[in-house]
């Protein structure tokens, strides 16, 4: 028996006509939802999936685990560039990955949300961050020109 670290075996049981449906317990596949680079139709979500997954796998995964109604799934493999070279002039390979375009059923739409909105952060009282912010503010204040001159630059004497 193989001492593999994760469940999804390197060898699934052989399928012959009449065999029971293959079931995978505790799948070892992790999907990454990505913001599409090119404009996609409103019902399409773009995922990066492991190379070993197929369209059926993606459909079942999303339906069973995330309860997302999936219509069609299209996949492609993105070649990771092997052009860049490091300081030793050796070629550095960016890993290849598979991309899945999942169209949602039942007229659902999906837009990739903005996960990093600007938030006003006031540092806690008496903390190091507050002191740093205060110090930076003071420095900026020092750089400003003299307000009593009414916007006139220092070039004009007096």
């Amino acid at each position: 028996g193989s001492k593999r670290l994760f469940t999804s075996p390197l060898r699934y049981p052989l399928y012959q006509l009449g065999n029971p449906q293959l079931r995978i317990f505790r799948p070892n596949w992790f999907l990454t939802l990505v913001r599409p680079g090119k404009e996609q139709p409103p019902d399409t979500a773009q995922f990066r999936i492991p190379m070993e997954m197929t369209k059926c796998d993606v459909k079942n995964y999303l339906e069973k685990i995330y309860n997302v109604p999936v219509g069609a799934v299209r996949t492609r493999i993105q070649f990771g560039s092997n052009k860049k070279r490091n300081h030793l002039s050796q070629k550095v390979k960016q890993p290849d990955y598979k991309v899945a375009y999942v169209q949602l059923a039942q007229g659902q739409t999906f837009t990739f949300p903005d996960i990093f909105p600007e938030k006003d952060r006031t540092a806690a009282e008496g903390s190091v961050e507050e002191m740093q912010e205060k110090f930076l503010e003071d420095e900026k204040q020092k750089q400003k020109p003299d307000p009593r001159r009414g916007g006139v630059t220092e070039w004009f004497g007096l």
Binding site: G1, L31, K64, P113
Partner: protein, 259 residues
């Protein structure tokens, strides 16, 4: 845990459930999830799969339980993202990863559900990581990803332990996949793992091309290889002895550990 409601079962997945089960108004928001179905262990995001730090005071379990009404959470693709309150934060609190010792105390159903909780958490963190790279912003608390990975690995080891134990008891086999010790063409003996075929081996052309024996003409090469290996070992041992002798000459009072 007779007193636990269905939401209580949700909370059993979190690390310190014995100490900190407290249903308060702060936690009981519309996001509460319950009602485990077989493959959809939706967990209220606030109770992260890791030990929650937000419960500061442990309360007695049985005394403070309230009957809780919860609905199945059908949030779909929202589960690829964190709670909306955490968007834009620079750091998100998270607890310790699961240890193998803790996981061994859990039942198989709980472990199965925990696997999916961890899977969803990892998916969420991976989407966050990729989006942070895209927006050229630092990912908040990247150590969460490492913690979840470690928890998953430990869960896997615990499950395989249980599987091997069961297999040993039921069939007496240590390994799930059958195999055999075989010699390859280079004279090395290795553990060959069997593969499932639809036809017997004598009809399998590719299998018959594989040689599980060493031909006669390879034997002199094996002998040379052996000689090389022995020579290297002898060289290493003599080097060790020489360095030790040199040191003893320089530092006669040096204490040497017995080999």
């Amino acid at each position: 845990m007779a007193a636990s409601s269905s939401a209580g079962r949700v909370l059993t997945l979190c690390k310190q459930f014995q100490n900190v089960l407290r249903i308060s108004s702060a936690i009981n928001t519309p996001h509460c999830a319950a009602n485990f179905t077989k493959y959809q262990p939706h967990v209220y995001r606030g109770k992260s799969p890791l030990a929650a730090l937000s419960w500061s005071t442990p309360t007695s379990y049985l005394g403070q339980c309230r009957a809780l009404h919860t609905t199945i959470s059908r949030r779909g693709l929202e589960e690829f993202f964190d709670l909306p309150e955490n968007w834009g934060e620079t750091s998100v609190k998270s607890g310790a990863p699961w240890t193998a010792k803790q996981l061994r105390t859990k039942s198989n159903e709980d472990l199965h559900k925990l696997w999916y909780v961890l899977l969803k958490e990892k998916n969420m963190l991976l989407t966050l990581e990729q989006e942070a790279k895209r927006q050229r912003v630092q990912m908040p608390s990247p150590e969460r990803l490492r913690k979840v990975e470690r928890s998953i690995i430990r869960l896997e080891t615990v499950v395989t332990e249980r599987e091997t134990a069961l297999r040993l008891l039921q069939t007496g086999q240590e390994k799930g996949r059958p195999g055999d010790w075989r010699k390859n063409t280079f004279g090395y003996v290795y553990w060959y793992r069997f593969k499932e075929y639809a036809i017997p081996w004598y009809m399998n052309k590719r299998y018959k091309r594989k040689k599980f024996y060493t031909p006669k003409f390879v034997e002199p090469h094996i002998r040379l290889r052996l000689e090389k290996h022995i020579r290297e070992k002898a060289r290493k041992a003599s080097l060790k002895k020489k360095t030790l002798a040199k040191l003893m000459e320089k530092f006669p009072q040096m204490k040497v550990s017995a080999p």
